[in-house]
């Protein structure tokens, strides 16, 4: 890797990246509080993974496709998914893209090329291979990024997708967001190997990067993306960070872990990014203040706005099973409504 990514991108790009991180963190805090107040049903906070995701997102083009997972709010924000749509999903209201059908944190934003989220972890990965195959087959210049956690590397889907991607030399970047925990299981009990080393067993390149380092993650992802775009096949990136929050709002990490990273401490990726960008002369304290208070304002405003939106009509529940509704569903709709 010879080019210096730092010089390629202008300041604005970093300010925007930092802004997305802050907005996401603010969003996290807001939703967690709202959940405690009973205003939201469930949520999987992203705290701690902002640098990983925004760094990776910076390396993508508009037309690239993302087969994301449930903890990717920073990336969605960075790619311009309207905050309204994130909130609509979390609330499952009638303006939700998916008509309130999915649990919170199961976002979709097809307009921004986020391909929707299932719960069974890592089962997005095989789909990503298919999409990457389609792009390659159609000789498109776009690539696919797929994200998942460290725990997800134990799944059958990870294995299936990694092998397919390598065999067909697909334009695909596997981004493993190693936050060192899968609910209560620490990474040492998940696997005896380092994650990036798993790539070699598929004949793929594996890269490890400090996922708390925005610039490093950006650089590593940009390199993998370039490789993919040039027809040189897939890469597995292990971006190491730390899950600062609980697994989800249903989870109490005190039961199983003592080591933590505090929100705002000097291991927090937001603080680390602030430091780095200040050092680079891109950010200063007043900008930071402004970005943070602006984020507070937006999240609070939008939350209150979207909270007023009513739930979906009951009849919507019966749509979209098939393109053409089946007689069974018609009949059942009749009984239920």
């Amino acid at each position: 890797m010879t080019e210096n990514v730092n010089e390629q991108v202008d300041k604005e790009k970093y300010v925007r990246a930092y802004g997305a991180m802050v907005l996401s963190r603010t969003f996290d805090r807001k939703i967690i509080t709202a959940q405690r107040q009973g205003r939201v049903g469930f949520y999987t906070p992203t705290m701690g993974q902002e640098a990983t995701q925004v760094g990776a997102s910076m390396a993508l083009d508009k037309d690239d496709l993302i087969f994301e997972y449930y903890r990717d709010v920073p990336m969605m924000i960075h790619r311009g998914v309207p905050m309204e749509k994130l909130l609509d999903q979390i609330m499952g209201n009638s303006e939700d893209y998916a008509k309130g059908r999915q649990m919170p944190s199961h976002f979709i934003a097809r307009d921004n090329n986020f391909m929707s989220i299932q719960s069974p972890v890592a089962s997005n990965l095989p789909l990503a291979t298919g999409a990457a195959y389609a792009l390659k087959y159609r000789k498109k210049n776009s690539i696919v990024l797929t994200t998942f956690g460290d725990g997800s590397t134990s799944t059958p889907d990870f294995h299936a997708a990694m092998n397919m991607a390598a065999v067909y030399e697909l334009p695909l970047v596997f981004l493993c967001e190693n936050n060192q925990w899968a609910i209560s299981l620490p990474i040492e009990k998940q696997t005896k190997a380092e994650i990036w080393k798993k790539a070699e067993g598929y004949g793929m390149e594996g890269v490890k990067v400090d996922g708390n380092d925005l610039l490093a993650t950006y650089k590593a992802t940009a390199e993998a993306v370039r490789k993919a775009r040039d027809g040189k096949g897939p890469t597995l990136i292990e971006a190491v960070s730390f899950r600062m929050g609980p697994h989800s709002t249903s989870d109490d990490p005190n039961k199983y872990r003592s080591n933590t990273v505090q929100d705002g401490s000097d291991q927090d990726p937001i603080i680390l990014t602030e430091k780095a960008l200040k050092h680079m002369g891109i950010l200063n304290d007043s900008m930071i203040e402004k970005i943070k208070s602006e984020a507070e304002r937006i999240v609070t405003e939008k939350f209150e706005e979207r909270e007023k939106i009513p739930p979906p009509e009951p009849s919507t529940m019966f749509d979209d099973v098939y393109e053409e509704m089946s007689w069974m569903v018609k009949e059942e709709r009749g009984e239920i409504l």
Partner: protein, 319 residues
Amino acid sequence: MNMVQALNSELDLRMGADDSIILLGEDIGIDGGVFRVTDGLQAKYGQERVMDTPLEELGIVGMAIGMATTGLRPVPEIQFQDFIYTAFDQIVNQMAKMRYRTAGRITVPMVLRTPYGGGIRGGLYHSQSGETYFAHTAGLTVVTPSNPYDAKGLLSSSMDLNDPVVFLEPKRLYRAQKADVPEEDYKVPLRKANLVRSGDDLTIITYGSMVPTVIQTVEKNSLDADVLDLRTLVPMDIDSIVASVKKTGRVMIVHEAPRTLGMGSEISAAISERVIEYLYAPIVRVTGPDTPFPYRLEEYYLPNERRILAAARKILDFR
């Protein structure tokens, strides 16, 4: 005890008495399980016997089968039934068929526990009722309790069986009721339905999470109904079903799983194959619809009093 405590108490009792019992699953050890069914057991019996496994349902089930073929009696947990399908090949092609393909030379005594069903705002992937997938698979015994007492006693009988059991725990009922549950081990028999309530006008056949809903509806509306709680879905207790149908001549089946090929279809078919001449009215199924399970509108998905009553009226008013 509530159902979680009843299950925990049975696991604890049996593990204390028999060191061939091993629990394995995701987050079941130090965390005690996401629903706390295995709470405290790792502290008591150690990491070797209460295994916090990596995130691989296929591996959990496959490993448990391997243990069972070599003298242990594993009780694996799948965190949500919705996530069991990567292990489905192991379930259908190994667990269910080992006794048959070895003519009994190798057997698989294990209890595969998993919470199922809706009612906790889990949406598409934390609410499924997949009992059909198991009940259709010859070689599996499929069990589901509807209250804390049955939960403990059925788990005990399941752990005694020399065959694989899929033990489906209605997660909505985990903490819904407290009941008097003996501290010591006792059995609720497999393959036997429970006549929860007796009546002459109507037979309502149900199981798992729908049992309380049915009972409340029957009591509140003074329906004169037999209420049969299947307890074991396969092999189901056909004799009790037939006896009740012969008495009432009118049948409703209530479950939360989607209608098409839900348990109701088998119950209905088995009845009309045997005693159609006793029926005064159509057999009516009150079930979840043939759609995935929605998040925000789940109360419309689940059978409720209104729908059960509407069905009862339809059946009782027939002709």
